[in-house]
């Protein structure tokens, strides 16, 4: 066991040894093959008819129920709502209340000038968006939780967290010493405590599933971890200066120890709530689990396999796989099999059925490689996951119309029929 800055080795060991039973308290509906949808109400906010009539007023309860209705067309039975835009939370957060979240009330945030999107105030909406919609899901018997893109600050200053802006002393720093407001380092106990308080806020809103998305990571990664606690820890361990190259595998693995300690602390926090809350971790660009350095370890400083081995997470959500364009489905199956085999008996696995194609690994790219239609590919991916023994599938960016009616019909046919129950 490697040393943690947040929890001593004994604490981690005792957690691993004695806490696993507690850790895995969440239990899915018996045998049901899961279809988890990641929902970002922001993506629905500007959806309008050709005549310009907006379909979803996502600052209202009614608007979000309408979003839910649309999402359910995919056959989803687990709904994971986005709790934030970047690090700006989309509910009435006490933890991120001050300073004012809205531009221009905090002049360090440049205003977003897009129509509708630039004027949303989810953090003030009544009723509290997250509490309301999770409640609606529960009333309908759906599994409901939160999709938390942990440090998504990759595209606009207004997504920086209020807490970050108020605590520059914890900002991440590059090897050349540049500080940056977009990220606070988990190497500081104060930052961990802050994020655990945010988790508490999700628990009080009755989230039963907490999905930490490492792919939408902004500056989450080893490049911004040249902060004093990590540098000191490195010096103490190696008696040298840290490598200036943030992609150095030794540095990435070193940083991963701190990230790991955070997940352990989060796991303990969820357990301490006394409720059955599932902790999920999203990983991307997954290839065959061979000896090659893991992409998530290098890019995020997150060792998801260790999280699985030590029982810290309940579910691994594979968000994209590096399938081979020469043999798309065969290579996909091999990777699914590889991950499922690795996690067998230790954690659940959800496999991707993604219309979202930013990584060029989603269904549109399968279409380009195979010349097959989206419904056929979606069905084939779902069925592959089911055949290989996955616990379910994950659908990212369930935006308006992103999953076409034909795709939805095919997914529902399988989810309500041959793939209804786990294999």
């Amino acid at each position: 066991m490697k040393r943690s800055t947040l929890l001593g080795p004994k604490a981690v060991q005792s957690f691993v040894a004695g806490g696993l039973a507690l850790a895995c308290t969440w239990a899915p509906a018996a045998g049901r093959f899961e279809a988890a949808a990641l929902v970002d109400s922001f993506d629905f906010a500007r959806t309008a008819t050709k005549e310009g009539r907006f379909l979803f007023d996502t600052e209202t309860a009614q608007g979000n129920v309408a979003v839910l209705e649309h999402v359910l067309l995919t056959g989803a039975n687990t709904i994971l709502w986005r709790n934030c835009g970047g690090a700006t939370l989309r509910y009435q957060s006490a933890e991120e209340r001050d300073p004012r979240v809205e531009a221009p009330l905090d002049k360090r945030r440049l205003p977003d000038n897009r129509p509708v999107h630039g004027w949303l105030r989810y953090y003030e909406a009544e009723p509290d968006i997250l509490r309301h919609i999770l409640g609606v899901c529960h009333e309908r018997g759906l599994q409901a939780g939160v999709h938390w893109p942990f440090e998504e600050t990759h595209w606009a200053s207004w997504t920086f967290g209020a807490w970050n802006l108020e605590h520059p002393q914890y900002w991440g720093a590059t090897s050349d010493g540049q500080v940056w407001a977009g990220r606070c380092s988990l190497a500081y106990p104060e930052v961990v405590a802050h994020k655990l308080r945010l988790a508490d806020e999700l628990l009080t809103r009755d989230a039963d599933h907490l999905f930490i998305d490492s792919w939408r990571g902004g500056a989450w990664g080893p490049a911004y971890e040249y902060v004093e606690p990590e540098i000191k820890r490195w010096r103490a361990k190696y008696h040298t200066e840290p490598p200036a190259d943030a992609s150095d595998p030794r540095w990435c693995a070193f940083v991963a120890e701190t990230t790991h300690a955070y997940f352990v602390a989060l796991r303990q926090r969820l357990n301490a709530s006394g409720r059955k809350v599932r902790l999920m971790v999203g990983v991307s660009e997954v290839g065959p689990l061979d000896d090659a350095p893991d992409a998530t370890l290098l890019s995020r400083g997150l060792d998801w396999r260790r999280l699985v081995n030590e029982g810290v997470v309940d579910t691994v959500v594979v968000m994209s796989v590096n399938w081979d364009k020469a043999r798309p489905f065969e290579s996909t199956r091999e990777i699914y099999r590889s991950v499922i085999g690795f996690c067998a008996g230790k954690s659940q696995v959800l496999c991707p059925v993604q219309m979202y194609d930013f990584t060029k690994r989603g269904i549109p790219s399968y279409q380009a490689a195979t010349k097959q239609g989206a419904p056929e590919i979606a069905g084939r991916l779902l069925q592959t996951a089911w055949e290989e023994g996955a616990d379910g599938v994950c659908m990212e960016c369930v935006d308006y119309g992103n999953y076409t009616p034909a795709v939805c019909a095919e997914l529902r046919r399988l989810l309500d029929g041959p793939c209804r129950l786990k294999r």
Binding site: P104, N113, R121, S157, P168, Q169
Partner: protein, 558 residues
């Protein structure tokens, strides 16, 4: 006298001497409460204790000292949303002057004692506002003799106003006419009928300028600027009639915002943070020499400094109690020793490589001779010397010398005409390096905008785009520069564009190649004509330079 008596006398003398020494220090320097923050002796320091001005469980921020020196206006959230209040320094009485529904914020005094402020009240959701074509953005208002009237109003955000020393105009940040995550600088004459005008248009992803103020002598404009979301806020100054060509007063290594001129125009107080600081702090900058110091304000974050009219005090906000409250402190300033002017990177310009086309042969000419181009695919030469690329063609120059810019400033300039846009980005020129195969690029993006890009130290893309899409067939000259601080700028036909980039600090070794048109066998096919290409160190020759610090602050007239 015994040995014991002698020892006691020596001790007494030593004690008296020590006291005298300390007293002389205090008398000479008046340095009560002064603590050296920097390694060198600070030129600006606190005198005496920090004094709390407001109290209570609410946040009091954005203080502005009245011209009469007797009052301080500020914004407060004591009733939930933001209101404007005024503190009488003699009685310590706080009076709400703008209250009620909506946010009233960023107060600024006129010389006559009126208050200009920003106001926004948006009762609708964003969808409702868009459907109703709402005008409920943030506008400027002025409070005179107890009555408020609107100066500006629309579905945009006008904020952080400051009134010029002569009281004739307001400078402010505004998102009016901006389309991205950005803000520009505007000016509004206060005379009846005065029309707002944009004085600095910045519009790109997380590019913007906030909190402008004109120097007391009217010769320079000061503001805080963000050049892309991966950068830090920094202070900029420029001539009021040409703020686009600005000087960065702070580096990207620190975060610096909320600048305020001292009344004599010789110093700037602002909010800043540098690595190792305990939190946000009050910094003072002597802009001509660049001397910088962080003042000791005690525990907690300290922000938003504002000068007293006599320049001897600062009021600022601090959160040591758990809420931001207002505090004041006296300060002392020592003359800053003359500092040799720092040679601006853009002053050192050297053309490193230039395209020469003769007799259907393209060469890249540099100081060490000419590198012949290798033609691939669909390339032709027009009789008047244009390189004609038909979409699948390129000309590559292997190992051109002189393009090993390191982390210093460099530029790329081309004269070209574009035949096709759309279908993905179309690369007109790319520099290939060991550090990154697309080290820098000039290209036309999907929407037809010209783009210039470089890389950050980790190889991530940093780019800027032209204000408007290019017209097909039109001939234009585009130049992009990465300065020594890693900032990007772009000019089209000599006009500086609104986009800014930051963090492009890659250190470039020797160039492996420069390619005009589609690089290698990849995509990004460029279709059009190229008349000229040039790359070099420093600043693009012939374009308007930003003034130097010495030029901009040479004649500070109190």
């Amino acid at each position: 006298m015994s040995a014991h008596d002698g020892m006691q006398k020596k001790r007494r003398r030593a004690a008296v001497g020590l006291r005298l020494f300390v007293c002389s220090l205090l008398l000479a320097g008046g340095v009560v409460g002064c603590r050296a923050i920097d390694a060198e002796e600070p030129f600006c320091f606190r005198r005496g204790p920090v004094e709390a001005l407001t109290s209570g469980a609410c946040n009091d921020t954005e203080a502005a000292w009245a011209p009469d020196g007797q009052r301080i206006a500020f914004q407060t959230d004591r009733k939930g949303d933001l209101d404007i209040a005024v503190l009488d320094l003699k009685s310590r009485k706080v009076t709400g002057v703008v209250e009620g529904a909506g946010h009233a914020c960023y107060p600024a005094w006129t010389p006559e004692g009126a208050l200009v402020y920003a106001f926004g009240h948006r009762p609708e959701t964003a969808v409702q506002a868009a459907a109703a074509r709402s005008l409920n953005g943030f506008g400027l208002r002025v409070l005179e003799r107890g009555t408020s009237r609107a100066l500006t109003q629309g579905y945009w955000r006008d904020y952080t106003p400051s009134v010029t020393a002569d009281g004739r105009a307001v400078y402010y940040a505004s998102t009016r006419d901006n389309t991205e995550n950005s803000a520009s600088l505007w000016r509004l004459p206060l005379a009846p009928g005065g029309m707002p005008e944009c004085v600095l248009h910045l519009d790109g992803p997380s590019s913007g300028a906030v909190q402008p103020s004109l120097a007391p002598d009217g010769k320079s404009l000061l503001w805080s600027q963000l050049d892309g979301f991966r950068g830090n806020w920094s202070l900029h100054a420029g001539r009021p009639d040409d703020p686009a060509n600005s000087v960065a007063l702070t580096t990207n290594v620190m975060s610096a915002y909320a600048p305020r001129w001292s009344p004599d125009g010789r110093h700037i107080a602002f909010t800043g943070f540098r690595r190792g600081d305990p939190g946000w702090g009050v910094y003072v900058l002597e802009p001509r020499a660049g001397a910088l110091t962080r003042l000791d304000t005690g525990a907690g974050n300290s922000r938003g400094p504002a000068w007293s009219p006599d320049g001897r005090e600062l009021v600022f906000e601090n959160n040591r109690t758990g809420f931001y409250k207002l505090y004041r402190m006296r300060i002392g300033v020592r003359p800053v020793a003359a500092v040799p002017p720092v040679p601006a990177a853009q002053e050192v310009t050297a053309v490193a490589a230039r395209l020469a086309v003769t007799n259907a042969l393209a060469c890249l000419v540099g100081a060490r001779g000419a590198v012949p181009g290798t033609v691939q695919g669909d390339v032709a030469w027009s009789p008047d010397g244009w390189l004609v690329l038909g979409g699948k063609g390129s000309v590559a120059f292997e190992k051109p010398s002189g393009l090993d810019f390191g982390a210093d400033a460099f530029y790329v300039r081309m004269t070209l005409a574009v035949s096709e846009v759309g279908g993905g980005p179309r690369i007109a020129a790319v520099g290939r390096y060991a550090e990154h195969p697309l080290g820098w690029q000039l290209f036309v993006n999907e929407g037809g905008h010209l783009c210039f890009s470089a890389r950050d130290p980790k190889g991530l893309y940093v780019g800027v785009a032209s204000d408007k899409p290019v017209r097909r067939g039109a001939v234009f000259t585009v130049a992009g520069q990465r300065d020594a601080a890693g900032r990007l700028r772009m000019w089209v036909d000599g006009e500086l564009q609104a986009g800014r980039g930051a963090g492009a600090g890659m250190a470039y070794g020797p160039a492996q190649s420069v390619c005009l048109g589609r690089p290698g066998s990849g995509g990004f096919k460029f279709s059009g004509n190229i008349r000229a290409f040039e790359s070099g160190r420093g600043f693009p020759p012939g374009l308007k330079h930003a003034p130097t610090r010495a030029e901009l602050f040479a004649e500070v007239t109190p």
